[in-house]
């Protein structure tokens, strides 16, 4: 498997570490239903047979987190982009109360 890294080009699988579903969005921790939403996000991930958006870390390269679309049936890499700019972002990160 070869993964396209926007900085490094197409690189071999062994340079990357896998995390999982890239659709993870850190829920709003102040919401009333935060525990249930965090539980869903942390544990209840989709595992589709087919195209899947995943997070890969270019550990032996530029240390970028990539949002990679991979077909889980064929290992076809359908695209890769920087998670920082192209990937999902949290809505309203936590701030220090009173700091």
């Amino acid at each position: 498997m070869r993964i396209h890294c926007p900085f490094c080009g197409e690189r071999d699988l062994i340079e990357f570490s896998y995390l999982g579903d890239a659709n993870f969005k850190r829920p709003d921790a102040s919401a009333a239903d935060a525990p249930a939403r965090f539980f869903d996000e942390v544990y209840l991930r989709d595992n589709p047979a087919g195209p899947h958006a995943e997070l890969w870390y270019h550990a032996s390269g530029c240390r970028s987190w990539l949002r990679v679309r991979r077909n889980t049936r064929t290992h076809e890499i359908l695209g890769g982009e920087l998670a920082k700019t192209g990937g999902p972002t949290a809505t309203g990160g936590p701030t220090v109360a009173g700091a």
Binding site: R2, V42, K84, G87, P94
Partner: protein, 1000 residues
């Protein structure tokens, strides 16, 4: 036939592609034989008249050579001896070399007389599903009785039980066009692509290019097939962008997509030699990255299922031609052919031309092409059309066959070999590895490739085109098209003249009239009756059939057996074969040794060894080292006369606590974090606040995973307004870096924060003990004021020292007044020596990780044993660190009911009631009179040490409601180590609980 060669009575006097000038001597089951260069072990054995080469897996039936290729199910041998002994090697692909040693398998005491052959008489109980049915009860007997007995009786070859003395390596290659298989289609494809200038890799599992061209008598443009193959090879070798990999099996296709695709291939670099040459591996694992692929893997001839079809002497018709034409070996002196295809008749004609008596051609088809009948008549071969071989009989080998004619008449023929052809199965495996499904073809009477992986095309027999001219035409077209697709548009594909005989097959899957045991899967001893039993018992899907009968699950993965088994199932359940379907093949196509996958990553090469810059100093001081992740760290420094490591560690601890010691802590992870939002970022990843940390101060921090469990701990220093330096544990350094990068890039890309690992950039030494400050004053001089007022506990500073930027942190793991001094790594060696010189008058000692560990346990500090991935901040007594003023990773889920259960084990200290008793990590806590059962388990000891300061063993552990049970007596039960010790629950802070030494 040679009458004057007693050593090789079945070798023809001339002919074949073997080098008769090169006589090779070899041993089989201790007997000496000879063969020629270019032989396989199988061809040499057959030439020597050895028909019996092994015993079968379950019934221990006598077995001979069935095929001439990698699909061989029977002729499995132990190749080589000693540490190089390799079990389950197929004699049909093992190249002969001088001095080769091989042994048959599955026999005791000898191949000719085998005790376990009694299994064959007990065969009514050894039917499909026998393991499930026979040994259901009592389960306890599995481990002690059934399994050892079955394993001894049913095992394949023996492992050498010794370390492999050879080396393996991995290599990558990139190409525009990968051609898999070097038969006529593959050679045509490689040449067409190669001539265009494309980068071509051509792989073949054989040691000779040509495939069936070396085994059949064909003409291409007036040359023999073999000569043509040699001409093409010569041209390919002249093309600079073409790489030929002989003895190389492409065993797996690993991804699909519009770009390049990855294939795994195994090159048997030295398997054809007794010992690999100097600096050469035994095998090389290739990762081939190809833009386009031409699959020209050919086809495998299928057997017919009839009574006694496993008898030594029964052989595939194509294999017989291979032995006759390529190796100059005949399989018998009176041979019959049992063929359901025109192709099988060629075997009869080739045998007759080689001077072998053909007793009969038995063909189940009622109507046979006149051209074949004419030719048979010319050579005076007796033909039984519409007839079937119902039984093959004999003792050690085949002696006679029973032929049943259409009118029911039965004829017995005395023969010593039978060539069988049931048609051909295209080798479609590589088209299915990434999810493709094979498709049934009525034309080919076999499964052919269905939807292909993108970028792959199929040529020749692999696609069901069995004629030679078709193979050449398809190969040339596919090779040219593949090259053109990668931008190499050259000349038109080459054209050659050759015959294009059709296969002409009407499949006969099995002979219904056979009453004797008829084998479907030779290697796993699956019979037609087993398939019938599976059908009767409802295991009708091919996937269930496979698992119930083990059809196709042997090392050959059913290359000769799957389709026959599925076709029998189809007939028994009155379904069409495409409706029954076929099982999916997965990599590897043929067995690949684990050693090849490991490559050079063995022993010390498994992972890099990292040395701190103080390593040489530690070596000079006689340190014993321990692996910590990839790092080697000094574990202790034994002094002359010390006889036990605990004596050494006790001395080191006492020296630190009474004066001063120094420990190399360079391996701890260090992450430099900068940016306008650096403080905010740390607030989100640590459970406690860091934005409020004053500049030039250090704070202990704990981070959780998002699931609420503890991930890592360490200190973080604030070096400037927007500049922090985090330390992590040695083991988790890379994991924490990845975690922080995830938080920075994925969770909160809007934060202005940057980070870099600086672990290797700094050498860092902990200087601990009541004299540590005096040592530092001597060492640093005017460079930094280190008095308690100027540099109190948790202070830090970056300062110039002898022209170098140094950092000092007043932090302590030992509980003593302590500092950590960091300098750029290249000065690490000089600095440790300078520390030792400055500390000479205080008797400074270097101490290792063991003393470090003892002192942290005396102080109740957590480390790797407690940061086990199953503990919460509350469990570790650090719940109060969790800030209520902010959110942080893991906060929400750390409040889950399961993680806040009042009954969770919490960190405590324990000491033995009997001061002399030893404690063991891993011991479980039980009430004094409780039985040692899971229900009574109350926690466990995580860390133990003999405390030099207290003079007895102490431990840290996780105990249910621990903090409320101070003073209570419980047991630490360690069945593994035999200890059952009464202990008292105490505070984890064993030593200097007021912390006066720390702040002194």
């Amino acid at each position: 036939m040679s009458k004057n060669n007693p050593a090789a009575p079945y070798r023809l006097p001339t002919g074949g592609l073997v080098d008769r000038s090169q006589v090779l001597s070899f041993l089989f089951d201790g007997r000496r034989y000879t063969g020629f260069g270019g032989d396989t072990l199988a061809s040499a054995l057959l030439g020597a008249g050895v028909k019996l080469v092994g015993r079968s897996f379950k019934y221990h039936r006598r077995r001979g050579v069935l095929t001439a290729g990698s699909e061989e199910p029977n002729a499995l041998v132990e190749l080589r001896s000693g540490a190089r002994r390799e079990a389950n090697t197929r004699a049909t692909v093992a190249e002969l070399y001088e001095g080769l040693e091989a042994c048959s398998q599955n026999r005791w005491p000898s191949l000719a007389f085998d005790v376990a052959a009694i299994n064959s008489l007990l065969s009514p109980i050894f039917v499909a599903g026998f393991y499930y049915k026979t040994f259901m009860w009592p389960a306890a007997l599995w481990e002690k009785l059934y399994e050892p007995v079955i394993r001894r009786a049913a095992g394949l070859g023996r492992a050498s039980q010794q370390a492999d003395p050879d080396t393996y390596e991995k290599a990558h290659a990139f190409c525009d066009v990968l051609v898999i298989g070097a038969g006529p289609a593959g050679l045509a494809a490689a040449l067409a692509a190669g001539r265009s200038g494309a980068r071509v890799v051509l792989c073949d599992e054989d040691f000779l290019l040509g495939g069936r061209l070396n085994a059949d008598r064909h003409e291409i443009d007036g040359s023999s097939g073999g000569d043509w193959a040699r001409q093409i090879e010569a041209e390919l070798r002249s093309l600079p962008e073409v790489r030929i990999l002989l003895r190389t099996t492409v065993f797996g296709a690993y991804d699909d997509g519009p770009g390049a695709r990855t294939f795994g291939a195994l090159e048997r670099v030295s398997d054809h030699l007794a010992v690999p040459p100097a600096h050469q591996p035994r095998q090389r694992l290739w990762k081939l990255i190809a833009t386009r692929t031409v699959l020209a893997a050919g086809a495998i001839e299928r057997p017919i299922v009839f009574g006694g079809n496993d008898r030594p002497g029964v052989m595939m018709a194509s294999a017989v031609r291979t032995y006759v034409n390529r190796f100059g070996v005949v399989p018998g002196r009176r041979v019959a052919v049992f063929s359901a295809s025109d192709d099988g008749w060629k075997t009869a004609f080739d045998l007759i031309d080689a001077g072998v008596a053909v007793e009969a051609i038995v063909d189940p088809r009622a109507v046979i092409a006149p051209v074949l009948l004419d030719q048979a008549k010319r050579v005076q071969a007796r033909v039984y059309s519409g007839a079937q071989v119902v039984d093959a009989r004999g003792g050690r080998g085949l002696e006679r066959i029973v032929v049943r004619q259409p009118d029911g008449r039965v004829t017995k023929l005395s023969v010593d070999a039978l060539a069988v052809s049931g048609g051909w199965n295209p080798s479609v495996a590589l088209t299915t590895h990434v999810g493709g499904r094979a498709r049934w073809s009525d034309d080919a009477c076999a499964f052919v490739p269905g939807e292909l992986p993108r970028g792959m095309s199929v040529a020749g027999a692999a696609g069901g085109s069995f004629g030679l001219a078709s193979a050449l035409r398809e190969g040339a077209a596919a090779g040219a098209a593949a090259a053109a697709a990668t931008g190499f548009t050259g000349a038109a594909p080459p054209v050659w003249r050759a015959d294009d005989e059709a296969l002409g097959v009407t499949p006969l899957w099995y002979v219904a009239e056979s009453t004797a045991k008829a084998f479907v899967d030779f290697q796993h001893d699956v019979t037609r009756e087993d398939v019938a039993l599976a059908a009767r018992e409802g295991y009708r899907s091919v996937e269930l059939l496979k698992r119930y009968t083990t059809l196709g699950m042997a090392t050959d993965q059913g290359k000769t057996s799957n389709l026959n088994g599925h076709a029998i199932m189809a007939a028994l359940t009155e379904r069409a074969i495409p409706d029954v379907g076929t099982t999916t093949s997965r990599p590897p196509y043929t067995p690949v040794a684990i050693g090849a996958f490991a490559g050079s990553h063995r022993g010390k090469h498994f992972k890099p060894t990292r040395f701190t810059s103080g390593h040489v100093f530690a070596q000079e001081r006689g340190a014993t080292f321990v692996e910590a992740g990839q790092w080697l760290r000094a574990q202790w420094f034994a002094a002359p006369g010390e006889t036990h490591w605990r004596e050494t560690v006790t001395r080191e601890v006492k020296a630190v606590r009474s004066s001063v010691g120094v420990c190399d802590v360079s391996s701890l992870g260090k992450i430099d974090i900068q940016g306008l939002d650096a403080g905010e970022f740390l607030n989100r990843v640590y459970i406690n606040l860091f934005s409020t940390l004053p500049i030039s101060k250090v704070r202990y921090g704990l981070m959780l995973r998002e699931d609420g469990l503890v991930m890592d701990d360490g200190t973080t220093a604030r070096l400037g307004t927007h500049h922090y330096l985090m330390s992590t544990t040695t083991a988790n350094a890379a994991k924490v870096m990845q975690h922080l990068e995830h938080a920075r890039q994925v969770l909160w890309p809007e934060l202005d924060v940057q980070m870099v690992s600086v672990t290797e950039h700094w050498a860092q030494y902990a200087i601990a003990g009541p004299n540590s400050r005096r040592l530092l004053e001597r060492l640093l001089g005017d460079a930094l004021e280190v008095s308690n007022d100027a540099f109190p506990y948790l202070a830090c500073a970056e300062f110039g020292w002898r022209g170098v930027t140094a950092r000092l942190f007043r932090i302590s793991f030992s509980g003593e007044m302590a500092y950590e001094l960091a300098v750029p790594a290249r000065f690490g060696d000089a600095v440790i020596r300078a520390i030792m010189t400055a500390g000479e008058e205080f008797g400074v000692v270097p101490y290792g990780t063991e003393a470090l560990g003892v002192m942290r346990i005396e102080k109740g500090h957590i480390a790797g044993n407690e940061l086990s991935g199953t503990t919460t901040a509350e469990d570790l007594g650090l719940g109060r660190m969790m800030s209520k003023r902010k959110d942080f990773i893991g906060r929400v889920l750390s409040a889950r009911p399961g993680l806040t259960d009042a009954n969770r084990p919490v960190l405590v200290g324990v000491k033995a009631v009997d001061k002399a008793a030893q404690l063991y990590a891993g011991a479980h806590f039980l009430a004094l009179n409780a039985a040692a059962t899971l229900e009574n388990d109350e926690g466990y000891i995580t860390s133990v040490a003999f405390s030099p300061m207290l003079g007895h063993w102490i431990g840290l552990g996780l105990l249910q409601r621990g903090p409320q049970r101070m003073g209570e007596r419980i047991r630490a039960h360690s069945p593994l180590r035999g200890g059952d010790t009464e202990v008292e629950v105490v505070s984890p802070l064993f030593f200097d609980s007021e912390g006066t030494r720390l702040h002194g």
